[in-house]
Structure formats: C-alpha cells, structure tokens
C-alpha cells in the first residue's frame, strides 16, 4: 500500500494512491493538486546520515576526513524541519550555496532495541523519499553538521507516499535521481550506501531505542549543486515516489532583504 497524509476541506486525512491521484478514507477521489500534502506519517525521531555514499564522500573529500570504514555519521533533526510534497522551501537572500539531497527514508514500524542486522529489516514499516536541503554558507566546525545548516524550518521534504516495506523487495537496488527544472542533476543507486539499512538499524539500536514512526534518512549520492529561488526541485526514487519542492525567497516569508550598510 502507498499511503499519504493530506489536508483537504478543513481536515487532515489519511489517503491511499489511486489512478486519478489519491483516495481519502471517506471515499473521495481527488487529484494530486487538490490537496495539501503533509509528511506521509507522523514522524518521531528524525535520524539523518552524513556521507553514507562512497561517491558523495569523494565529492566532499577536500573538506572531510572520514572513510566508509568509519562509524556512521549520524545527526538528528527536530519536527519543524519537515514539510510535505509540493511544499515551498525558503532560500535566505544572499546565501551562496543551498543544495538538495535526494535520500531514501526508512520508516521504523516497531520498537527496536539492540537488534542484529539479521533481524533488523523486520522493524521497517516502509519507505518514502526525502529531500534534505543544506545551506553550506552556515557551516561551522562545531558539532557538525550544525543545526543552522541542516535543521532549518521546512528544509527537510518528505513524501509523497509511505510505501509499505512489503512492496519493496530490495531497498538496496533502487535508482534515485534529482531534477532541477526538469534537468537531471543527481543520479545514484541505493546499492552504493556505505552502511546499508540493516547495518544502520543494528548500529543505532545498540545505543538508542528505535520506535515506530522514527525515520532514518540514509544519505545522498554525488551530484549536489546550488539551487535558486524559483527552481522546481524533484527528487525521485524508483518504486517509492516523486517528491516535488519549490524554492522561494525571503519576501514570501515576510522577510526583507538584509539592510544595506551605509557609510555615514
């Protein structure tokens, strides 16, 4: 099953995919653009991986020092970072580099505490697509990646669908790609994860209890590049979904441009 959470007609609904778009639990069939899409499940802890693809690691190698043999690089996000499909993400005026990251999101379905990789996949409820933006101008070398880079309001896009694990026989053989204004800018395969999903669940559950609703954002392959106001950014993963986001500027959020320094 492919399920979603949407707002429509004054309420929040659970919906499933339909040939004409989606169908609400109450029977209404609606087009994709007739609803407001929310993240497809109520997220608990948001766990993100940095540098989990060999090629992306190489791409950033000039400033980074880890190898795929190292402990997974994990960081957390708060609930305010999340937005759904067809949402709008703010690019602060004046920043130089804001980039997308197409990632397979793994949604936990049952409590996992100290599980081994042999049984880890039993705890996976399903998958969705994530576009985890970063604004590199704000990178500082203290507790990287710092929250001002990776935990901004509306900078972690999730959806459209939560796809049941049963419908994804091999989550480690999925093509993923990103398109900016229709042009392919990032391509990869989930086969190239440095730490695969069972390894991540084993690693995490050794020190933290994973609970239903927790989500693991498994990292991105090479091909990140800057996006600008007005760009339509589509992140898609084979068999999981096509997630659309649009970049907007400060003005949309009632923020004026930074004051120009005037010399007296």
């Amino acid at each position: 099953m492919r399920s979603a959470r949407v707002a429509c007609g004054g309420a929040i609904h659970h919906a499933v995919s339909h040939t004409q778009g989606l169908r609400l639990a109450d029977g209404r069939v609606l087009a994709e653009d007739a609803v407001v899409w929310l993240p497809p499940f109520e997220a608990g802890t948001i766990i993100a991986l940095g540098l989990n693809y060999g090629d992306h690691l190489k791409e950033l190698a000039k400033e980074l020092t880890v190898t795929s043999q190292d402990e997974p690089l994990v960081f957390f996000k708060g609930p305010g970072a999340l937005i759904g499909h067809r949402g709008f993400t703010r690019r602060p005026d004046g920043v130089k580099v804001m980039h997308y990251e197409c990632e397979l999101a793994v949604v936990i379905g049952s409590t996992a505490r100290r599980v081994t990789r042999a049984t880890a996949m039993r705890h996976v409820a399903g998958y969705t697509v994530c576009n985890d933006y970063a604004i590199r101008d704000y990178l500082e070398n203290w507790y990287r990646p710092n929250l001002r880079v990776k935990n901004r309001d509306g900078c972690t896009v999730l959806g459209p669908w939560l796809v049941d694990a049963a419908e994804v026989p091999d989550p480690h053989a999925l093509a993923l790609r990103t398109l900016v204004n229709g042009k392919v800018v990032q391509q990869g395969s989930t086969a190239d994860m440095a730490h695969d999903i069972p390894a991540l669940i084993e690693y995490l559950s050794a020190f933290m209890t994973l609970q239903a609703g927790d989500v693991i954002l498994t990292g991105t392959p090479e091909g990140v590049s800057n996006v600008d106001v007005g760009d339509e950014v589509v992140t898609e993963i084979e068999g999981i979904g096509r997630l659309v986001n649009t970049i907007v500027g400060d003005a949309e959020f009632g923020r004026s441009a930074p004051a120009v320094q005037e010399t007296p």
Partner: protein, 233 residues
Amino acid sequence: MATPQLHFDVPPYRLSGAVYGALLNDPAQLLALGDAVHQPPYKAPPQAPVLEVKPRHTLAADGDDIAVPGGAGGIEIGATLGIVVGRVACRLSMAQALQAVAGYVIAADLGLPLASHYRPSVRLKARDGFCPLGPRVVPAAEVPNPDALSFELSVDGEVVQRGSTAGRVRNVARLLVDVTEFMTLQSGDLLLLGRSHAAPLARVGQSVAIAFAGLGRLQVRLVAEAPLEGPSA
C-alpha cells in the same frame, strides 16, 4: 524513554517532547580550549549558537535509573536550565523573548566524555535516558531572573559542582532570539541553556542530584547497562 509527564499550571500545560540543547554556552568552555578554537578542525570560534537535538529516547524523569555503559570511566553530568517555550516562537526579538517562556525546569545533560567538539558521535550523548528532566516546570512568573539562578550538583550526597546560569555566551533571551531566527519553536518545546564548564563525572552505582534555586531538585541513579551481545559487541 518517554517524555516525562510534567504537567504544569500555565499554558501549554505539558511538554511537546521536542528538546534542543545549547552547547559551549559557558565562556569558560571555549576559554579552556585556548588557541585550539582558531586551529583545525575548528578554524574559528562558533558564531551561531551551537546546538544539539535531544530526541525522545533520551528523555527520562526525576527518580529514574539511567543505564550507562559499564566499561566507561564515568559519564559527565551537565547541570542545565531548561527553558519551556509557551507559544509559537519564530524570529523573536530581545524585547519579546522572555514573554515566549512558559516556565523553567531542571535538566541533566549526560554524556560520555568527548575527545573533540568537531563531529562527536551521537552514540556518546544521545543514549536512552541521557536527558533527565524534572521534577517540575516552574511558571516563568515565579522566576524573576532566569539568568541568575544558582545550582548545586551532588554525587552521592556530596556537592561536586556549584554554579549559576549567569555569564553565559548567550543568556536565556539571546539564545531564544538566535535560535528562532532559523528554527521555529513550538509551544511546549524545551530549549536547554547549556551546562557549565568542567562537568563532573559520576559512575555506575552513584546517585546524582541537581538542585536549582527555586526549581527544586532532580535526582537520578546510574545503573550498569547490560553488556551488548551479538556481532556488534
């Protein structure tokens, strides 16, 4: 392991479960690093607030037993003030900041000692139960100056650290302003002001108590974590 059921008598009456903590917010912590703050890997002192997320699995309540790894020489006990947000807080100004606070609660920022502040593993701090909160949320109206609260941290009844919330890199209002510039806080969210320099160590079997003037006393006991079995041990 679950958000402590800290009900209180002012809106929003309960915590949302989202907890963020400030790090390196005591000038003495940066001072102790000396010239290293200008050298690789840091290259420059922090500009924006240094923050971490305390996910729901890290939360624990007053009186809980906290399982800590057996092999460790001890874990650090950071005493910190918790600021409970009382309304949606986005882009607060200094003048508005304290009006957005519902109340205050004691938090313990536990962690294994870190070798570096560059990219420390969350495995060292974000462990089950490593962020106890309590015993209660005291309404902001009863805390006239959150930037001058003294605390005492005791291990097995002996005071091992005395400190205060005064003299932070960012005080309560400034921290709220700088955090809400880029991340909106919701009613019931908790923002930790951050521990003081030189957090004391405590070991398995010891009892730890943090008393803040006017906020009560948060106490937990450190117990041994069962050894990890299987291939990842």
